[in-house]
Symmetry: C2
Subunit: 191 residues, 2 copies
């Protein structure tokens, strides 16, 4: 172990985001990230497995928030209520400015977009398993989980691009209202 660096992970993340924004994810090396942060490559690799992990490190926290909310929902709650609680909780995980920057980097790179899809699919699997532990039948759990992740993605898009800065929960509830209207076959309202 080298000497202790205060908030090395945070400095490395900021340096990485700056470089990804300036020259693109592909064109940035770990050596450059470490140099920009004023740290060594060795310090980088104590915090992150590779440069991609700088962008995907937060996945475990998001998964824990989603699954924790499902596991913690009252036994009487139906699948939708449990998923809604999970989606509410997920909003607490994100810093909006970091989310916005991370999203722009990912949108610029097909490989990162694929990784993001795989992360979302793995979140859907985790949600489905958590619903299964509540006794929800397997295919219903999967439908609820996949639909929940669809609602998550749309809520996240609305929230992260909202210049009026309305809170996550407002975007979530508007998304769920639209989903109900879609499922009922009513024409969706103009946004």
């Amino acid at each position: 172990m080298g000497r202790w660096e205060p908030d090395a992970a945070g400095r490395l993340r900021e340096a990485a985001l700056e470089l990804f924004e300036e020259r693109g994810f592909e064109q940035t090396t770990v050596a450059e990230i470490a140099a920009r942060a004023g740290l060594t490559e060795r310090t980088f690799f104590r915090h992150f497995a590779d440069k991609r992990e700088v962008l995907f490190r937060g996945s475990e926290g998001l998964r824990d928030a989603l699954v924790g909310a499902i596991d913690g929902a009252p036994k009487s709650a139906g699948p939708l209520d449990a998923v809604t609680a999970a989606l509410e909780a997920s909003g607490q995980v994100f810093d909006k400015e970091l989310s916005r920057r991370r999203r722009a980097v990912i949108l610029a790179n097909p490989e990162l977009q694929e990784r993001e899809l795989i992360k979302l699919a793995s979140l859907a699997d985790a949600l489905g398993e958590a619903l299964g532990r509540r006794g929800v039948a397997a295919l219903v759990a999967r439908l609820a989980a996949e639909t929940g992740i669809a609602a998550f993605r749309v809520t996240f898009e609305r929230w992260v691009t909202d210049e009026a800065a309305r809170p996550w929960s407002e975007h979530l509830h508007e998304t769920l209202t639209e989903l109900t209207e879609l499922a009922l076959g009513a024409p969706a309202p103009a946004p």
Copy 2:
């Protein structure tokens, strides 16, 4: 071009599926697939870019069926009706036995599972774009498309694993009924 081979693509696909089943996708080479089919590697590469394409060739047909049904839905149809028409149409694309075999090969290989996720995400994008052409607002179109693909995945799972061999449309309509009940917050019925 070499000499013409009757149904070379079909023979290559059958040989590839047999080998993927017998020894796994990773452990199978294009040379082995061609040999099993009684054809040359050169013939293989006239039909498929690589061994993975043997499994994913059908994607364009599925996309055309989904998008064609959205584009062809009456102007008065809401987003859900249009997506339902697309999901109905998608069932026409699949041969059940081939689908079952292909699914088993994909489930055994994480790289193929990732490719399948990316294919499904690209289908969701295509559905969302088709809904956008109908004047559906962008985020509503995306929600309807993502939810539609969630319903597609669940319908496909139900149908392909159904030993009673009930038709695609029955599984689809049961899935959409569950989705409506989920969206209304009612407890989902036991399957």
